[in-house]
Amino acid sequence: MNFSFSEEQEMVRDFVERFVREKYEPDMRRKIESSEQGFSSENWNMFAELGWLGLPFPEEDGGFGGGAVETMIIFEAFGRGPVLEPFLATAILAGSALRQAASAAQKEALIPAIIDGSIQLALAYCEPDGRYNPANVSTMATETGEGFVIDGDKSVVLNGPAADRLIISARTHGQQHDPDGVTLFLVDASAKGVSRQNYPTQDGFRASEIVFDEVAVSADAVIGELHGGYAILNNAIEEAILASCAEAVGAMEMLYKATVEFSRTRKQFGVPIGSFQVLQHRMSEMFMEYEQTKSLLYRAAMAMDAGADDASRTISALKIQVGNAGRKVGQEAIQIHGGMGMTEEMYVGYYFKRLTMINSLFGNIDYHLRRFTGA
């Protein structure tokens, strides 16, 4: 066992942290969030230039062969923004599907373009009635002579608006809730029959509802095995959980520190509110929740990289911990900031909202408790 970061890992961390410090001051973030696109192309290009977008991809595909620990390092720093550029959607969610199952041709066509920042992706797997179950797929892909025709609705597709390509799950076999019979397809976002309703998310990202109306794709649009998309989705979601939980840890750190700092300067009853024992204990609890979550994050990342038997279970444990701790830390930060915490002007709201949305994404606490207990 070994708990230290390597020199390379420490370097990446320092870099990303510096980026967030310099490019994500509250005013800058507000500007990015309120832009039409919702992220900064300049930042995105910088990610490409610095090689960050290549970090999660294997060296043979032109990447740097980073694992879960590297993903964690990037996203923990991103959480301090929180950074709005669609790294998660493109390089993790969709990227994972490609890493796991794409053909040589697909990889060649896409991965270098992802790494150099020229294309963005989105993974369209949620459906209106599907809640958190990725096996719940009623979007149909019907085989034709030349390929498939896809019909159905996908909901809350992260980075839908900016995605050039979509990886979508569709049913090629079985009933609506069968894990077996789900297939992943690569679809051009501008293909005929694809229509998007775009919107911002509560935490300042962008997403879409996407309707597929007789969208024709060729046979080589299939990613991985026919009917075999569920396992790929599951792994991709687990990677995204790790990344977003790392973000949550970064956000919690910012929140507890901002709250402590606020409590030191804000005076009520003639003294800083940080001198009230009730608030001291509650901030101590925020700190403990942060530390405990960070510990579980490390554990999950290391378990993933080691391919441990209990890696999936640890990911669910992490998601549950982030749900509970994020709720507590977020709510307390707002409460201790008082009226000030309720205003959009104070950036604590950014973290609180991001934490809330992370809890709601990729399966909430109940969902993962069921997964964890095997029920």
Binding site: N136, Q202, Q335, M342, E345
Partner: protein
């Protein structure tokens, strides 16, 4: 002890229900049912309808326009009003400045201000909080200096809900800096049209624009607008923080919300081909909130009954504030949970009165997350829940 309604109570219940079904503005009920925002005009119309029936101020003494209802009748009225889905009353006039005026104001002031409040012709807002004075309200610094028959008011109030609609504001102002800080505070009514007042909206974390900063720069306020005695304003304001205020717990509305959640859950897929009502975890969390609320409903009734029999309402009503807001907040969280992935979209245009934006996902989910964010305020305002616990510790437990 008897939990059942007697024949008079049953008749009253029927009367109230019929009123909401036939007399109350149906278009407002429909907007509420669709979770659409109400315009200020909608709010005024709904209150005027209640006033026409004589039911606008159940908690006021009869001599000032109250209804003279028993606790049971108040309970029935609240329940029926929530059941009908009628919007809650804007509290600043009817729930706050009105009682201050009829309790501490002079006859002239009562005659001048109470009718406008009852008729909802005058829109009031509250000027208590300041940037430097949140929970420590008494440290406020907005100054009112005497100049002949006027006070000259200078300073800043914040967190002022609906200041953009308000005709008048009731303020705590500092009329003296010499004594103990509580003693230098006075209670002043100020016409919002007075020169020197500017209102700037504050955007809250849910994206809402209900609250405002209100700046006063040498605003001249006639001395006649002082309530009670100069320097006694703190005592008057404290009454609002510590005394029983019906409806602060929001029990009837929370009950209705729980029923709404249950109804939605029966029609919302859990992702595995069953409904959310089959999700035992969700239903048990809902149950725990409901149980807390069943208890709070009786805590409120016990408080009302004690007041009726002449006992002081007292600081126990801090429970109503704390538990009531905790329950309201938990309910907003249950909506977020129920919404699943549809908690994510942010579509503020959906709430602009009269807008025609398509919601993403089911309509009920559209404001779930915003409401959760927005309701974090309830444990902060009206005397934060920490202040309420201080009150219990000191005034009830004697610590």
């Amino acid at each position: 002890m008897d939990i059942s309604f007697n024949p008079e109570e049953i008749a009253f219940q029927k009367e109230v229900r019929t009123f909401f079904e036939t007399e109350y503005p149906a278009d407002i009920l429909e907007k509420s049912a669709n979770r659409q925002s109400l315009s200020s005009d909608d709010m005024v119309r709904s209150q005027k309808a209640l006033h026409a029936q004589g039911w606008i101020a159940p908690n006021w003494p009869e001599e000032y326009g109250g209804t003279g209802w028993s606790p049971s009748q108040k309970y029935i009225f609240e329940t029926e009003m929530a059941r009908a889905g009628a919007p809650r009353l804007v509290p600043f006039g009817l729930g706050m400045v009105g009682p201050i005026i009829y309790t501490f104001g002079n006859d002239e002031q009562k005659k001048r201000f109470l009718p406008g409040i009852l008729e909802s012709d005058i829109w009031w807002c509250q000027g208590f909080s300041e940037p430097g004075a949140g929970s420590d309200l008494a440290s406020l610094s907005t100054k009112a200096e005497r100049d002949g028959d006027h006070y000259i008011v200078t300073g800043q109030k914040t967190w002022t809900t609906f200041a953009q609609y308000a005709d008048w504001i009731f303020c705590l102002v500092r009329t003296s800096t010499e004594e103990k800080k509580q003693l230098g505070i006075s209670f002043l009514l100020i016409d919002m049209k007075s020169p020197g007042i500017t209102v700037n909206p504050i955007v809250t974390i849910d994206g809402g624009r209900e609250v405002n900063d209100v700046h006063f720069e040498n605003v001249r306020v006639p001395v006649d607008n002082l309530i009670g005695e100069e320097g006694a304003g703190w005592t008057y304001a404290k009454m609002l923080l510590t005394h029983e205020r019906t409806g602060i717990a929001g029990v009837a509305r929370s009950k209705e919300q729980i029923e709404t959640i249950r109804a939605i859950a029966t029609k919302t897929d859990n992702g595995f081909g069953e409904m959310m009502t089959d999700d035992a975890d969700f239903m048990r969390r809902l149950a725990l909130v409901e149980i807390e609320l069943m208890a709070l409903e009786f805590t409120e009734l016990r408080t009302l009954a004690a007041v009726q029999t002449g006992k002081a309402p007292g600081p126990e009503s801090s429970i109503l504030k704390i538990k009531g807001t905790e329950i309201q907040q938990l309910i907003t969280e249950l909506f977020v949970e129920l919404a699943g992935n549809y908690a994510t979209p942010y579509l503020p245009e959906f709430y602009v009165p009269g807008s025609n934006v398509d919601s993403v996902g089911p309509g009920w989910a559209a404001d779930a997350t915003s409401k959760y964010f927005n309701f974090r305020k309830t444990s902060i305002y009206g005397g934060s829940n920490e202040i309420q616990k201080n009150i219990i510790a000191k005034a009830v437990l004697g610590l």
